[in-house]
């Protein structure tokens, strides 16, 4: 069954679909996750906009105001237009290379850049192309793209903010969850971890994980109530735990670490289920907000024990 059928059959409201279907992962147990995602995103986001009187109301109204035509300024082609055209021509899907689709994607990109006064950076085009392939229709593609980019651009496409995120959110969370991996990745003299974090975050795992897997993560980003910078930190920590053996190997040096992480899809032998990844990532986020260090550590230790029969020795006890 596709996502639409399962969603219609099992959930009476958008909130139920979001809370139980997406965040508890029920939807992915019953549905073929590579079918019906366009419908799912339209339902989740369009209905969010149309819904009154629920917890998303305020956010929704802000979102609608931003997208409503009177606010749209006169569109002028940004200076980056040739680069955008070039990048769009390099998207890795035959459908996206069709002239009509290319034209639409270019228009959508310029529209979004103009409205938000963003400067184009490589990576925008891959997110847009992937969203188009789920929806194949300009209006909803633009809505979903904007919703995604409003979260991603200010943090992950800004070098200063990206570095701050790594220093103040990601690294401290990793240190609590796995002091061993933290010490391994933050050894003195190591390459900066921004080398791989930059790509992981900017294209939201498109280069590291299989597409159907990535789209489940994107369902969570699009419906999440957690700040994306914290949610992604939680997800990345789980993905690192997933290659704990490789990363913590005594002979794994600085270059090996970067090689593993820039070729994650080849390095990982057994990937945790995508819904489980998001559930655990979000649990880490909740506990991080509560500053429940013991539970954070315990969850990660249990994960390693159950999946790899590894005991994470905690020397620091911090």
């Amino acid at each position: 069954m596709d996502l639409k059928q399962v969603a219609v059959d099992r959930y009476g409201s958008r909130d139920e679909l979001v809370q139980r279907g997406v965040w508890r992962g029920e939807l992915y147990r019953y549905a073929d996750t590579d079918k019906g995602r366009g419908w799912l995103w339209k339902a989740l986001i369009a209905e969010e906009q149309a819904n009154n009187g629920n917890q998303f109301d305020k956010r929704h109204q802000m979102h609608v105001r931003r997208l409503t035509p009177p606010a749209v300024p006169k569109l002028t082609a940004p200076l980056e237009k040739p680069v955008i055209e070039l990048d769009l021509r390099r998207l890795n899907d035959a459908e996206l290379l069709q002239p009509e689709v290319q034209k639409t994607l270019l228009e959508l990109m310029i529209r979004v850049l103009t409205i938000h006064n963003w400067t184009y950076k490589q990576g925008f085009h891959e997110l847009l192309g992937t969203i188009w392939l789920q929806l194949r229709e300009p209006n909803s593609t633009m809505t979903v793209f904007e919703k995604m980019m409003e979260q991603v651009v200010p943090i992950f496409y800004n070098e200063t903010r990206l570095a701050q995120w790594e220093k103040h959110i990601f690294a401290p969370l990793l240190k609590v969850c796995s002091p061993i991996l933290h010490d391994q990745l933050y050894r003195e003299g190591n390459h900066t971890n921004l080398l791989w974090l930059l790509r992981w975050t900017r294209v939201l795992f498109l280069r590291e994980l299989p597409m159907d897997y990535v789209l489940v993560i994107w369902d969570h980003i699009l419906t999440g109530t957690y700040p994306i910078e914290t949610l992604l930190s939680g997800i990345i920590v789980v993905l690192l735990l997933n290659v704990y053996g490789e990363l913590s190997h005594p002979e794994c040096d600085d270059d090996d670490l970067v090689e593993i992480l820039l070729n994650y899809n080849e390095s990982v032998s057994s990937l945790v289920d995508s819904a489980e990844l998001c559930r655990m990532g979000s649990r880490l986020v909740e506990l991080w907000f509560l500053q429940d260090v013991n539970s954070l550590r315990m969850i990660c230790n249990t994960f390693l024990k159950l999946r790899f029969n590894v005991n994470q020795v905690d020397n620091n006890n911090s």
Partner: protein, 218 residues
Amino acid sequence: MLQFKLVLLGDSSVGKSSIVHRFVKDSFDEFRESTIGAAFLSQTIKIEDKGSQQEVVIKFEIWDTAGQERYKSLAPMYYRNANAALVVYDVTQQDSLAKAQGWVNELKTKVGEDDLVICLVGNKLDLCTEEGESSSKPKAVESSDAEGYANEQGLLFHEVSAKTGEGVKQVFQSIGEKLYEFKKHELANSKGRQGAGGDTVNVQLQRPSTNDATSCCG
């Protein structure tokens, strides 16, 4: 085995990733996605020590970087501690060589090491070799101009086609030989320090931030 860090720099879409894939995987994709940030691959080659006639294995750790102008601020993160740089331009794009020259200047001013091997590489040679073909493009950068510039700056110079593979192996071979030539003496010292424990020496020659020219990785 000797390990060297090599970084690819150059404008967007000049074929940096295609050169790497031709070298590492001996393959070519007509449509290659843009590089986001950087990619990391490794490949080994063998060169001959001219003195001893012995074969030396060199491992290149290759950092393939994104060419978009806006990533430029991140470039030092990738070329830090590099032993060699491939600065790539597109022989069919007139302004491409000038942009490559910009990268060479940046490397020379920011890295500033005399023994950093820089190789200027003109790619997409295949596009201008078939005269009269509808797909052929005029060669917009003359070999003599690029080669003259390379000689002036003390760079290695090659023209290649990642698509056909023409010249690609030679690029890495010549870089390997030059690096080996530079590092031979350091290696001899390193061997001496390690004693006569074995026949092979496994040395990483990435520039450490401590300025210690060689370091051992066991």
